[in-house]
Amino acid sequence: MNWNLFVTELVAGITHGSVYALIALGYSMVYGILKLLNFAHGDIYMVGAFIGFGIVTVFGGAESLSVNVWVLLLVMFLCAMLGGGLLGVLIERFAYRRLRNAPRIAPLITALGVSFFLENAALLLLGGQFQSYDSYGWKGGELWTRGFTLPAGVHVGVAQVIVVAGAVLLMILLTVFVQRTQLGKAMRATSFDREAAAMMGIDVDRVIVATFFIGSALAGAAGVFNGLAYQQVWPYMGFQAGLYAFIAAVVGGIGNLPGAVVGGLVIGLAQSFSIGYISSTFSDAIVFLVLIAVLILRPTGVLGRAAVQKV
């Protein structure tokens, strides 16, 4: 057995999976609270990735950064999360809110429209070519030369550690927020029964706005994580990532937050192992096979529960 290949794909799968998991969390949060598949969610991730790219450019570009790498990263994450979050709030306010009591097909089509709008706006403003974070070039490549070596001789760069550790940190913060804070509990209450939540005096509109902000901020962060580990950004990157994150959310059980994380990792690993062991041509097919298998064996997702209500 080729251990080097195995460990390489394992590391790649976990790194990719962390990014998918972060996007899937936002997908699942919005679905949980509005029962809306927010197809524009992947494009918020794209916008976050471009915000990060813009900041690298502002600070002198990859080859001649004018600031410390850690300061750069901090600014990138803050701006991408804030920008992504605000974009999510704007989309909710102007595209989805007035459709809240419309038949479910209307917001679904609208979500597709918002997605096309964002992709084409990015195409118009930023051009259709691939751009690169080029994180190998930052300050002599310290994010990649430093790191540690796993058994079987696989080198893991600091950049990959940042992606996985950062994603885990954000997931822990989200869990604490949803489990411990009043607003987080109000989110769970609203997602279970919106009218009953309103009957408690919970301002449902505010809770929905907060959900969009947090979910979209996670997508913005995921955009930067992806750029850091895989360099490339371009206007259509949100389509594939959004699709994979959606599959991840369904595989884990949509509306279920731990499920989104599990689903993200499953999809990331399925993708990288099929690239490593079968062919990159078939990796999409393998990912969809995982989805089909889960839907046949466990239609509610790995961690999802069928909605049983005691009356």
Partner: protein, 237 residues
């Protein structure tokens, strides 16, 4: 003491789309009073509560609470001013714990103080025992306690109750109404919507009878119990 009622609906018309549900409804509840609202299916009882709480807005008419016109105010605002509801079918947050359900009841009071919890646990010692259990796993009677406890966490001046006896075994209905009486005696005004006219009139001060969105009868609870028409229509005797 002023004579102004705690809650009053003045010629309220409520519509669902084109359907005229409440038709010129006049109703009031004085501070500390227990009023029941009777009527059959689709008579507009639940809509009345939703109108009081601001979950639906009347097309015409005024809702006054604590002397203030709250017709245009949000549900949150009205709850902050001292309303709370025990909804039909209880509507607990099933995947959340009993404790979290109670905290949601006190959402506008930062999740409730220790005194609020003590007050509710004193009334329902079982809820303290079960506080870490998921609300959806409780029995119907226990869920009813959570729903009442949750409403009381908001320290309401006026407690709205929508069909508290629905889906409960007769013994639990009796127990439920004992608790309602007890809460009422602690000074909370109540507006109770019920199909079970007998048991609600037995503890109420006054009652209203609705039929297809119009008031057909109102009066002291004791008089209503003696009313021939009501008995024929609703008490089944």
């Amino acid at each position: 003491m002023t004579d102004e009622p705690l809650l009053s609906l003045e010629s309220v018309d409520t519509y669902y789309g084109p359907i005229h549900i409440l038709q010129g409804l006049n109703l009031n509840v004085r501070a500390g009073e227990l009023v029941c609202l009777l009527g059959g299916n689709a008579s507009g009882k639940s809509t009345t509560l939703k109108t009081v709480l601001g979950l639906v807005n009347p097309r015409n008419g005024t809702v006054r609470f604590g002397g203030e016109d709250v017709t245009k105010r949000s549900t949150s605002y009205r709850i902050r001013q001292g309303m709370a509801i025990v909804p039909e079918n209880r509507r607990l947050f099933a995947p959340m714990t009993v404790l979290e359900n109670l905290q949601m009841g006190a959402y506008l009071h930062a999740g409730g103080t220790k005194e609020d919890f003590d007050r509710v646990y004193e009334l329902f010692p079982l809820l303290h025992e079960r506080r870490a259990q998921l609300a959806g796993t409780l029995s119907g009677g226990e869920q009813q306690m959570v729903a009442m406890g949750r409403a009381l966490m908001a320290k309401p001046k006026l407690l709205l109750m929508d069909e508290p006896s629905m889906g409960l075994a007769p013994i639990l209905v009796e127990r439920s109404f004992e608790i309602i009486k007890q809460v009422h005696e602690s000074g909370v005004a109540m507006l109770i919507v019920e199909q079970n006219a007998n048991v609600s009139l037995s503890i109420a001060d006054r009652g209203y009878v609705l039929s297809t969105g119009r008031l057909v009868l109102e009066g002291k609870a004791d008089d209503l119990r003696e009313d021939e028409g009501l008995r024929k229509a609703y008490l089944g005797r």
